[in-house]
Subunit: 457 residues, 2 copies
Amino acid sequence: MIEKQHLKALTKIVGSENIYDDKAHMIAYSYDATRTRFEPDAVIFPRHEQDVSDILKYCNEHLIVITPRGAGSGFTGGALPANGGIIMAMEKHMNKILEIDTENMVAVVQPGVINMDLQKRAEAQGLFYPPDPASEEYSTLGGNVSENAGGMRAAKYGITKDFVMALRAVRVNGDIIRAGKKTIKDVAGYNTAGILIASEGTLAVLTELTLKLIPKPKYKKTYMGIFPSVDNAMNAVFKSLSAGANPVAMEFLDKLVIEALIEKLGVDLPTEAGAVLVGDVDGNVPEEVEFQLKTLQASFEENGASEFRIAKNDDEAKELWYARKNASQSITIFGNKKLNEDISVPRSMLPKALERIYEIGDKYKFKVPCFGHAGDGNIHVNVMIDISQLDEGHKCIKEIFEMVVEMGGTLSGEHGIGTSKAPFMGIAFSDEEMQMFRDIKKAFDPNNILNPGKMGL
Amino acid sequence: MIEKQHLKALTKIVGSENIYDDKAHMIAYSYDATRTRFEPDAVIFPRHEQDVSDILKYCNEHLIVITPRGAGSGFTGGALPANGGIIMAMEKHMNKILEIDTENMVAVVQPGVINMDLQKRAEAQGLFYPPDPASEEYSTLGGNVSENAGGMRAAKYGITKDFVMALRAVRVNGDIIRAGKKTIKDVAGYNTAGILIASEGTLAVLTELTLKLIPKPKYKKTYMGIFPSVDNAMNAVFKSLSAGANPVAMEFLDKLVIEALIEKLGVDLPTEAGAVLVGDVDGNVPEEVEFQLKTLQASFEENGASEFRIAKNDDEAKELWYARKNASQSITIFGNKKLNEDISVPRSMLPKALERIYEIGDKYKFKVPCFGHAGDGNIHVNVMIDISQLDEGHKCIKEIFEMVVEMGGTLSGEHGIGTSKAPFMGIAFSDEEMQMFRDIKKAFDPNNILNPGKMGL
């Protein structure tokens, strides 16, 4: 419950139409894509940067907890009010594409802009915004930057971090700061943008983003390799890349996913297939696309691929992609609850990592279908359980995390830590590293009012 | 002067062969590539990470100022002991390439490794480390990361920051921390690597770097465009890039530099030329290289280029590059002292920025030959003065900085701030932004013992 006087003061800042504390809204804003629920005490919609500044200053002075929120589509609870307080929601007003600067190839956007809206606007002008999280249709760019979202095209183009040139943000004391420039090179002052990216809204509130765009490559083709085993496919991943292939995406489906796709959706894949790699290659000239396809085909065949398909047209491309796009929904045949994690390992460790994941799954007697972004080493591991097996499921996940970290991998390739992975931070980070995170947090948010309870801090 | 007891304690850590306080060494370590000189009280050579930890812990406890140093080739005094104290020099022991991991395409190096040594080792294995500061033959990778060094190839491949995947560092209290992974995607915890890059050794001491390598493109060609005016050339820069050209480098020489090259070195360029653009294009297939050359040629000619040269072989390529590589030494014909700054503006602002630079130079009656990395908006501005005109020269520079910042540019594209640009930080950053930098500094170095007096903090 928020005190009346605070509600009144905040209403004075944004107007009564931009703040709610009724039960219906509190429930609506208590969710994200995790299974957890935290109800806020109020939801506030800043109209502009000055509102953000006034709100934060007030909350900081009165020690009111506040959590910034984009679309609330995160997988780890980053935008959930874990300690109650106020949700600052960006989707109502701060949702404008301010500029597509074609001369410098940059976009300037507010944090509430939906990823796909920027992609479309850029493409309409012959430009390209590559980061494509699976949530691209509804997640916001502010959320993407706060979680450093990845996606399929990261294999060639990199992740959100690689596209943030500059930003504006508001500190908890209300100070408005700018970081970075519309220039390729800028080394004046600390790289504040660098530390705000992926900070899950715990250090400052983003109010404007300057994002790099690139020229849209003219040619694109879709390929698929079919392998007898996961081991073959995982070897093909890093061997094709070190042979010089640079595919836009190299997505992976394992044997269980293939089984599910055939059984549930009748997808055209051989029943004996042990793994599939599917993706796009692109280029400015057809010969570059051919070079990519040949390099992939040669490496795939050297690593035991039984088949290498190339889509002849858009329809065939869609068909090849259909399997990957429906992987997530098909695997529900293995259990009514899915514990979905997004581990990432150095690519050469993929064969060993997958082997170990299945061994750990077997030990707990869970099916663990895996798919995802093999081209960048980021695998979505799905521990399929019955809802009654939650404790055992979490033990299984913990063991997988321990194995991944031991292999030089990370707890999260693209989903973030938030609340749901917070208990596992001790697996990945030393006491000294956790202390450093707390020192950084304190430098930005001494009263711990900004999105507290995240990242295990 | 360092107190005897401290010298004794530090000697106990590294051994007497790894610490000096004699005059000759103090003079040798008082320089970098700036004109300023600061003598340290001692120079210490850590043998390994544990030494770095022990030294920092001791210095922090006894409030002894310490400045990490690579090759001391910086242009802004980043590695100079501006407040005295100890130099921690990495070149003697911490200079090893620990691993070239061809499967994951990453290099693991100590901070004292020379940039070019890594480039050569990578190329011997068919891989490529793109960041190529002009100091590549002698500057260290630790210094490159600390200053976020750029170079010519940034136009296509980006800057040092874009190649740092992970690092190890030591905090002032002796805590050893790791940041990042050998994985493309990693979003667990704060992006500590992000804030340590470009922090000029003021937050922690780097002890190990994991750097991204890429497959070496198979084909490369060198081009040169000759333009009647700087305005033509600067328009050609951003118009060719937004037309889809993606050259490895697009370097620029202005009329004064061309004059100097012809007069001093007899370079084969038309005397009526107003500007030159020169660079490389590369690709996996010859057709991609052709596509790049055609896109450049068309844009250059649309913007008034009188000539477009393509090198037929390595010798011709060297000849085209000769002009750019000798720009810096040729312009000494205009004055016995050069105030060399490295401003950067959004590429579309290049024509206007150059126009204003010459106007400001005219006002002060200084010749201001300009050259540099036009492809990424980063221009080396050289105010040529007589040594007696230092005050006027600095006024001229200040006016140029003010204009650049007003155009959305930055004080430094690649050299950093250090001591020499510190007086200008107020032009680029607000009081609130400077306070944020101080807050970050304090979180990492509460006693201000690590490379104090830099960045205007």
